[in-house]
Amino acid sequence: MSETFVVTEHLNGEFQDITFEMLGKAKSLGGNVTAVVFGSMKDKASELGAADAVISVGGSDDYNPEEYAAALKSLLNEKNPDLVLVGSTSMGMDIATPVGTALDIPVIAYCQAIEASDGGYTCTSQLYGGKMDVESKVSSPAIVMVSSGAFDGESGRVSGSPSVEDFSAEYGAGKVRFKALLSPEAADVDITQSNILVAIGRGIGSKDDVEVAEELAKALKADVAGTRPLIDAGWLPKSRQVGKSGLKVKPKVYIALGISGAPEHIEGMKDSSTIIAINTDKNAPIFDIAHYGMTEDLFDVVEDLMDEL
């Protein structure tokens, strides 16, 4: 019977959504499912009912890239599971490839689909900003990095009483030291609570043109949000960032102006009730998830719309 390990992820003592998404997927693949937990998270093993077993590798409660990678490496070296699921996340990025590379186990990143195929797995990665689906065949053992939101978390969010085993792991040389967890800065507007969002991407072109979005937002009683590059450029505050390293939003209406729809952005807004995308690139991935689309120049559209309002 195949053995799948799910490397759980937690923050502030809570398992993160990706944990349950991976557990649900692991369960659907069949075989035995083991959840690997860190720090004192074994105390919450009852939340991991989708797993048949839980292995605690201990270590600090606060995520430490060096320590968690060393612990996982020592565990996999001894247990040799067929498949290891790790989040394609900030944490997963630090540990999946170092462990895979050190143990000579292949790693596939950004996976949106995983199927068992003879003697291994077929994984589909979303690459090139979401413009290509790339299928890889890999023989087991394999480490697969699972994209956030790729799988439904509900089937993995089951309470139960899996067996709990303590594993005496290695923790590395102490070259990386956790100092502090920093909570998000207080914001003037909490975009996760907004009813309507006018979100802007690189297509907006310049800092001065952010005004165009602000005017539209005002007319619609909406708030303004944006993609990572705009926040990095300082055009909008960090508290307005939607996506992988920003916030997850699900407003009633999400109006995407000049947003191509990179996977990192889509992860943060795909659950919006209605998505309206305006982008001149008709092949932009945003149109695959939008309910309504326009390929006209966003400034023309907004100007025409403002005239109508």
């Binding site: 993160q16 990025m93 630090d94 413009k131 100092k179 992988k244 390293s245 920003g246 309504y292 326009m294």
Partner: protein, 247 residues
């Protein structure tokens, strides 16, 4: 402190991407390449370190079309040295990392700043693999760092706007998400000027290793879902906004 920045050209996603005859790779015919945007942030952060703390910045890339211009641009931006690795054609992130690792073992380094990810790193991101080959610690998704002696204090980003502060002993590899300021723009005239005076060092590629241990079996644009209902005018958009309760 000697800071190395590996640079990589990736397909420009503004162009239409096509799959070639094999069905497993991009058609390179009409592909345009540009610097991986996160590598640009890594380079900027390295130059910031140089300007604020004093550091030697070395840009390094694998030879190919457009790489000379890339490396001269790095010099024009403020890198002290550019190195071109010749005779290599890495097929994935593992081989790319192995080739860089071999070159860096000879070159020496205190810190390697890579872009956190790129649009084609199917078998994992460069930074963590490179760190494993170099046997040094790695932290990914870094925005903001400070150096004091051989200790680097940095911020690593999580989802939901959370960040964590870590201390890392150098030598180390850091995957840069964002530089402390927007990567600088260099006018073409300045790059031309550098081309007249500066030289790019060349080194032969070492062993590329066996790669990631997995192969691409198929590449295709994502299957189109129902897709968006396309609207032709502001009036139609207005009607939709009313229908969904935005007005």
């Amino acid at each position: 402190m000697k800071v190395i920045v590996p640079l990589k050209l990736v397909p420009d996603l503004v162009e239409d991407l096509e799959v070639d005859g094999s069905g497993k790779a991009l058609d390179k015919e009409d592909l345009k390449f540009k610097l991986n945007e996160f590598d640009d942030h890594a380079l900027e952060e390295a130059i910031q370190l140089k300007e604020n703390n004093g550091a030697e910045v070395v840009a390094i890339a694998i030879d190919g079309e457009g790489v000379d211009k890339l490396l001269f641009t790095a010099l024009a931006k403020g890198a002290d040295k550019s190195i071109k690795i010749t005779g290599a054609d890495p097929k994935d992130s593992h081989q790319l990392a192995k080739i860089f690792a071999e070159a860096l073992k000879n070159e020496g380094f205190d810190l390697v700043l890579t872009g956190v990810q790129s649009v084609d790193d199917r078998d994992g991101q460069l930074g963590p693999i490179l760190a494993t080959y170099l046997e040094v610690p790695v932290v990914s998704v870094v925005s903001g760092l400070a150096v004091s002696g051989n200790v680097i204090t940095l911020h690593k980003e999580y989802s939901g706007g959370f960040m964590a502060e870590y201390e890392v002993d150098s030598p180390a590899v850091l995957g840069i998400q964002a530089a402390r300021q927007t990567p600088r723009y260099t006018p073409v005239s300045k790059i031309r000027q550098i081309q007249e005076t500066a030289t790019i060092e060349s080194v032969d590629a070492g062993d590329a290793g066996v790669g990631s241990g997995s192969e691409v079996s198929k590449m295709a644009p994502p299957a189109k879902g129902k897709g968006a209902k396309m609207l032709g005018s502001a009036e139609e958009l207005l009607a939709v906004l009313k229908e969904v309760g935005a007005l």
